[in-house]
């Protein structure tokens, strides 16, 4: 079996009294695209910087393709064959686009380096910008130059620290798709840090959710969304309705119905059921559970309807794509049992 591209073993890094990395262990496979997601301050950027070697560990180990790079035999960042893309792109303002791309190719022969740079600029569709300076480029263009520069020395791993967060919404998705397809085609291992849950779910082969310097859950996007390990993970990717319930005989009884509980759940008694907005169906056709509409938020593809249900203290939010009558007041709801989360 091939060595993982990156292996972290009990990586620990403290800033003052807070642990940015709290004995974190993780393997990242060759050629994989990994999304690293979490709230700000969870240590995801620190993790990236440790892999790049611009930050050191207090304890623990980092291996790149099986080679130890942190600890006693520290390997300098310039010797790690790792590319880095920064939130602010970090293009050298005194160098033209071409010279920015050539910056990492100083060890190659001039003709070879120039050919490599031309090739990359052409492939990324920015050949016409080669003589320009970074300040004269748009955000999307800067992004592509940063990608070309990072790819130029053919790094085994590309680290991206919220590289798309400075782009506006429409541009962001396009640039991200382009960037990732280029990286996928080159077979590069990619670790992308983001604080945007949607971006994390849509971009990576695997997703790592971090909190407080530790990993909460690792898995595919489907794993994290459909089978979250706890309410925090579930709520991170999607707003949840929390409904109080009573666990009895392997079933949870709530105001919205009775649901099967996972077998391992213990002990019996009061518990909480989590229901995603899209797991609640509403219709004006009379049914078992009656609810009063308190507010409607129209989002285009879906509409969020905030409902008051008798017997529940908190209002429920439900997402529907069906059009309710304009003057609808009372609706009837049903819950898809397979989408209910119990922890």
């Amino acid at each position: 079996m091939t060595e993982p591209a990156v292996r972290l073993q009990k990586a620990r890094r403290e800033f003052g009294s807070t642990a940015a990395l709290d004995n974190l262990s993780l393997d990242i496979h060759q050629g994989e695209i990994l999304s690293l997601v979490g709230p700000s301050g969870c240590g995801k950027s620190t993790l990236l910087r440790v892999i790049a070697g611009v930050e050191t560990l207090d304890s623990g180990h980092v291996f790149l393709s099986g080679r130890p790079v942190d600890g006693d035999g520290f390997i300098e960042p310039e010797a790690r064959n790792v590319g880095f893309m920064f939130q602010d792109n970090a293009l050298f303002p005194h160098l033209s686009v071409r010279d920015n791309v050539l910056f990492g190719l100083k060890k190659r022969k001039d003709t070879e380096a120039a050919a490599r740079a031309e090739d990359l600029l052409g492939r990324l569709g920015i050949a016409h910008l080669a003589a320009r300076f970074p300040h004269a480029l748009s955000g999307g263009e800067q992004q592509r130059v940063a990608l070309a520069r990072a790819l130029a020395p053919e790094p085994g791993i590309i680290l991206m620290d919220e590289p798309f967060s400075n782009l506006d919404q429409g541009l962001r998705q396009r640039v991200r798709d382009e960037t990732l397809s280029v990286l996928r085609a080159s077979g590069t291992t990619v670790i992308m840090v983001t604080h945007d849950p949607q971006e994390a779910l849509s971009a990576g082969d695997r997703v790592v959710l971090m909190r407080g310097g530790a990993i909460v859950q690792v898995g595919t996007a489907y794993d994290l969304y459909d089978r979250p390990v706890d309410a925090y993970t579930a709520a991170f990717f999607c707003a949840l309705n929390a409904v109080p319930g009573l666990l009895r005989g392997g079933r949870v009884e709530t105001r919205l119905g009775t649901f099967a509980a996972p077998p391992a759940l213990a002990p019996e008694g009061a518990t909480t059921l989590y229901i995603r907005p899209d797991a609640i169906d509403i219709s004006t056709v009379p049914g078992a559970i009656r609810a009063r509409i308190r507010r409607r938020v129209f989002l285009g593809a879906t509409e969020h309807v905030i409902l008051a249900v008798e017997g529940l203290d908190q209002p429920l939010t439900c997402a529907t794509s069906a059009r309710l009558p304009k003057d609808a007041d009372i609706v009837f709801l049903s819950v898809s049992p397979e989408k209910v989360l119990i922890f």
Binding site: G53, V54, D58, E78, G83, F84, H135, A136, Q142, D168
Partner: protein
Amino acid sequence: MPASSPAAGLLRRSGRRWLACAGVVALVVALPFVGLALEALKGSPGLWAHLVSSILPVALVDTVILLAGVGLVTATLGTAAAWLVTAYAFPGRRVLEGALLLPLAVPTYIIAYAYLDILHPIGPVQDAVRWMLGYESPRQFRLPDIRSMAGCILLLGFVLYPYVYIPTRAMFLTQPGNLIDAARTLGISRRAVFWRVALPMARPAVAVGIALALMETLNDVGAAEFLGVRTMTVSIYTTWITRTDLPGAAQIALMLLLIVVGLVALERWARRRQGYAGDTRRNRGMTPVSVAPSKGVLLLAAGLVPVLLGFVAPAIYLAIEAWKRYQFASLSARLLHEAVNTIVIATLATAVTITLGLLIAYAARLRPDTGWFLRVSTLGYAAPGTVVAIGVLIVLGSADQLIDRAALQWVGISTGLVFLGSGAAVVYALTVRFLAISAGGIEAGLSRIPLSLDHAARTLGQSPSGTFRHVHLPLSKTAIAAAALLVFVDCVKELPATLLLRPLNVETFATHLYGEAARGTYEEASIAALAIVAISVLPVVLLSRVGVAGSASSTSARKHDTIEDTRT
């Protein structure tokens, strides 16, 4: 496996050569102060009693009053001038912006020298005043004597205010215009914006400026001595020169250093905030408001007052006196020789100072945890020239003896005074004195470069030294040039250390002027003084160009703004 200790980590990573060099620089700078402390300990109790009873009380009180007065005058003048040229648009503003820097070219001892003669009871000004009032002789009417504490405060204030003006104006220029706009929409009048928004935000810059001006004040020997103010600096000088009491001088010097440490703390504290405020550099600056022509003339006149008093009047006086002297005796070979000495010493010291400044500023960036190297290295700026000179004298004097003795013993040749005799001592002292200007300016320049550029360069295969060469050096050229200019001016103007450490028979313009003023023989000193002012004006003109160019290049900054806007 055991975790490696932080200290091991520190040494393990690259950049340790930079770190080691920075450590050596810090040591070299600290050495004169260590020597000073050791020398002070040699002082006999008898001498100390004399110091405490007769010299220190007067010196301490005079020093504190002088500092308070100069601080107030420079803060008021510097801030008002900076606000005038950034907040209002009126004809002549561009010229005034640069002209306000001119007093920087007039050293404290030269302004005192010039005004002593200009305001002399039988000098041109008092003659004119009496003529207008109809008095016949100085016995009937004379202005208050310039040789007083108030006179000293005013004269120093009018040449030192640019230290406040420069950073404060820069701060006003980079202050985000949208903050000003926000304040206006929140119902604060244009006038009140100064007190409520602009001044509080510029406070770090004002504090840095005041700290620098006060360090200059403590450094001054000439003006205070000519004007009869017995500051601690003057006391050190006289204690040593007239009574040859080196331990006593070292003791006062150490006490003076206590005041200095407070000023350094102020400067450091303020600079930290400055770096923080530097994040706003990409913002649109404040737009100056146009004023009616009549008000414009008034503003221009007000802005010209410090320029007239701090530069034009003394410069014209010196030019007239120098012309008279030139007519009388032409230029002596001695003066030309002094010109060469002055420029050679200043250039050498500037080269050394900038090199070391780059070294410690970059080392501090590589390893922020070792920032104290930088703080130690910059200690010298605050220390008055006399204090540094005595320290250098002690250190290099011992070194010279050591080398001489070793050479005699091993080779049988007496080397004499290798350092003190060659002028290396002067360069050493100037470097210790001005390393803070160089390191501080370069550090500020480096702090404008985002750390992500360092990391980008490192992950693209550059070592710390390569990153410095390919990224930091080209991006901080302007800051380095500006620092070099400031250091050069200061080296040319510097009096006390040069006076005490120059090799025998080597005179510079500054020491020549001091010598004549001290003897009371007004011969060629006006030419030397004019030369110092002229040399000092050149970098000041360039400095003002840099400032103007900075605001002219705002077109590209604007372009950047639009990019930033589309991103968010």
